[in-house]
Amino acid sequence: MNVAPRYLGRGSWLARRDPRVLILAIALFVFAVVQVWDGRLMVVLAVVAFLYYRTAGIPFRAVRYQWAYVLIFVGFIVTTNTIITGGELRGIDPRSVHTYFYLPLFGTPVSAESTSYAITQLLRFLSMAALGFPIAFAIGPSDIGPAFARLHVPDRFAYAIDLTFRFIPSLAGEMQTTIDAQRIRGYDYERVGRGPLGRIRRTVPVLVPVTINAIVGAEDTIDAMDLRCFGTGRRTWLRELVMDRTDRALLVGFALLFLLVTVLAFNGASNLWVFPFLIPG
């Protein structure tokens, strides 16, 4: 495991926070946004999420492919979900739906309501991603395990999360080596495709060797951990984490946000709100 996770937010305001705050913040935020179907509130929450993301100081250039993957993945989920459900019509009288047309083959109505549903869902997922990115890129590489452990996650799981964060970039490094091994045998990756989808297609021929090598390598790592008594009893975490006043204030802020959204949800924010500009004439 000789590749470090990319600590892109190093030194930023958010990276200086106790890592537990980042983990608890996303948990509180997720619990808040899942209650919301009111697009107006979701826009506000999305703004909060992206302001928070900005404080992590993650250069966009370094993560543009990750954002492209998120957009494609979330776009696919939202589109599929909207087509299957025809748009969640909670709080909407079916007789007052503003239908534009029906999708061929599926027969699903595409309406102002289903489009609002899709936009709200898209904003929700992107907001969640905005709070998730700092966990991957703005927590110090050796702080992830201690952070989860101090949140009372069992030691084995906490360390497993820590290792996973480093295993994934290692896997990426291994994949690049395998790609190089195939390129020197005339396999032209550039021809296979460009853009995020092309990159996914290019990885297909390397999945088998990378997976096998990763499994073989992981066995050695497991041996090495066993030989240093991992998982045989209660462990100490050398890294001490201390929350300062700013950490606590940030945490309280997210807790209040969660409470506020919960109250608003009870008062109608959990019902779908249709964006007026989508309603025809």
Binding site: M1, R166, R183, I184, A224, T232, L238
Partner: protein, 567 residues
């Protein structure tokens, strides 16, 4: 009173295996002792290590007979946690052993698992960092360490556990000679302080600095020799184990005195002299700069490698040796400067085009293998290049024959990853040859192979017909000196010397400054063959010396003779 470590009549057969990996091995190690375990690949060394450190039977299942006792207690009846307090194991590949994100986290990992108080762990970190000389590395991320630094950190991680027995598996495999010496110094200090060390290593000559008390030589799971180093040196086969030159010479003298001929002066490698002036260049670097992201590794390299040359690239860990090859193959872009192949810039050439000139064999062959069968693996390249399918059968037969893989029954239908390491290495070579390159680029050709297998592999490469040139990266000084016409010496991403071996080693300070050590073979060549451009391997040089010691009329010479040049 019982010994620190006792292995008694140990036999182990892995689950699903048909033959035992170890057969009736016994040994005793006392405090302060150093035991060297040697033997060819597959001789049972790893199984012995796993039996000592408790992974057998705790993590690997199979049939175990006999016992391993630590301080009189049967390992099979101890918990792994208890065993780890006695035995610390350093794996062959430190990259797989290191789990901490930073050096400090890595050192803390073991004591954290033991649940020690933080103050104790910090105290140990300070003490171990001092002892192993890695204090300047403490704040660094482990991913940023060089290969040598990583090995030292892996050892320090084990020192943190304060075990009484250190088991070290091939620690020198990826280290430059000076870093290797530093590591051996740490192990010697441990033994002097009363701990026991069990070290597994092919490079016997290099490990002699550690002053082992005894040697256990294994072959096919059985003990072939166990006893004092002097006795081992007297019986060891120099073709199977790398021995000091004086030992090889003495053995050849004894054989000669006993009436056995030292043999003809066979030259196992077509030794070339310096590339003649004006000879065509295959690969030329012109002020090349390259690196990874913001980190520049090559700082303006200029060098030309001949079309009919064997060139070894030497230098310390992290000096840019592999990076040089990767830029040549366009696997890494150059940030400035240019690379010429056969006089033409490679700027517009694809990796696929370059692959038809250069066959590149990675250090780890498994990184090149992915197909279901050897046949599919061999045809992957020719298919990508649109070669005629009618020629495939002949092509496969040819490359299998040239790499001696045709002797393995049913080789074409075997999954590549089920082959042994040495076979995988030869398959990687066959894969490269299937594209009909005229030059081979080998990255650490003998890493992970025992002396006999490595020697055979290089001999097989030398015997490949139609191959015009060979460029290889290595840490093995003797391999470079005996096989190359020319040495390219790198340090910190710059060429510090370039020329025939005899000239490059003239400046001993420069040699040592590149973390290289004068070996016994190097000194012997300098002594016995002063002024000669080429170096001989230990056995050939010993035969040469013995023949020269004979009266002139009794000498005979073999193929090539001493004056043979070039390919």
């Amino acid at each position: 009173m019982s010994a620190l470590l006792e292995v008694e009549d140990l036999t182990f057969t892995y689950r699903r295996a048909t033959h035992p990996a170890l057969r009736g091995v016994s040994l005793v190690v006392e405090p302060g002792e150093v035991l060297l375990v040697a033997g060819p690949s597959g001789c049972g060394k790893s199984t012995l290590i796993r039996s000592i450190n408790g992974l057998i039977p705790h993590a690997y299942s199979g049939t175990l007979q006999g016992q391993v006792r630590l301080d009189g207690r049967n390992v099979a009846e101890m918990r792994l946690r208890e065993v780890a307090r006695y035995v610390g194991t350093v794996l062959q590949d430190p990259a797989k052993q290191i789990v901490g994100a930073t050096v400090e986290a890595e050192l803390a990992f073991g004591p954290e698992n033991l649940g020690l108080p933080r103050t104790d762990i910090r105290e140990r970190i300070g003490e171990v960092a001092e002892r192993s000389g890695i204090r300047p590395l403490l704040g660094r991320e482990t991913a940023q360490l060089s290969g040598g630094e990583r090995q030292l950190v892996a050892v320090a991680g084990i020192l943190m556990m304060r075990p009484r027995i250190f088991v070290v598996d091939e620690p020198l495999a990826n280290l430059d000679p000076v870093t290797a010496t530093r590591l051996l110094g740490i192990l010697r200090a441990l033994a002097d302080a009363g701990e026991a060390v069990v070290i597994v290593e092919h490079r016997v000559e290099d490990v002699l600095d550690l002053r082992p008390d005894r040697v256990l030589y294994l072959d096919d799971g059985r003990e072939v020799y166990q006893g004092a180093v002097a006795g081992f040196l007297a019986v060891a086969d120099p073709r199977a184990v790398k021995l000091p030159f004086d030992v090889v010479l003495e053995r050849v003298r004894q054989e000669s005195a006993g009436g056995r001929s030292p043999g003809p002066l066979a030259m196992p490698w077509p030794v070339g002299a310096e590339t003649p002036r004006g000879a065509p260049l295959r690969l030329e670097f012109v002020d090349v700069r390259a690196g990874f992201g913001a980190q520049e590794v090559l700082h303006g390299i200029s060098a030309g490698l001949g079309a009919r040359e064997t060139v070894a690239v030497l230098g310390p860990n992290g000096s840019g040796k592999t990076t040089l090859f990767r830029t040549a193959m366009h696997l890494l872009p150059v940030t400035s400067g240019s690379i010429l192949v056969d006089g033409a810039s490679t700027r517009e050439r694809s990796v696929a085009e370059l692959a038809q000139v250069f066959g590149y064999v990675f250090q780890s062959p498994s990184q090149m293998l992915f197909a279901r069968t050897v046949r599919e693996e061999l045809l992957f390249g020719p298919r990508n290049l649109g070669r005629d399918p009618e020629t495939f059968d002949a092509l496969i037969a040819d490359v299998l024959r040239r790499t001696a893989l045709d002797q393995l029954e049913g080789i074409l239908d075997r999954p590549p990853l089920t082959l042994s390491f040495g076979q995988q290495k030869r398959l990687a070579l066959a894969i490269a040859l299937a594209l009909h390159p005229v030059t081979l680029l080998l990255d650490e050709p003998n890493a992970g192979q025992d002396h006999r297998t490595a020697t055979r592999f290089m001999a097989e490469v030398a015997a490949i017909p139609q191959l015009e040139s060979l460029y290889f990266v290595t840490h093995d000084v003797d391999l470079a000196l005996t096989h190359a016409d020319r040495i390219l010496l790198l340090r910190d991403g710059r060429v510090v010397a370039d020329g025939p071996p005899a000239r490059v080693i003239e400046d001993e300070d420069r040699w040592i400054g590149c973390n290289l050590r004068p070996t016994s073979l190097m000194r012997a060549n300098a002594r016995w063959r002063a002024g000669q451009a080429s170096f001989l391997d230990a056995t050939t040089l010993a035969q040469w010396v013995v023949t020269m010691e004979r009266p002139a009329g009794a000498r005979q010479t073999g193929r090539g003779g001493l004056g043979s040049t070039g390919r």
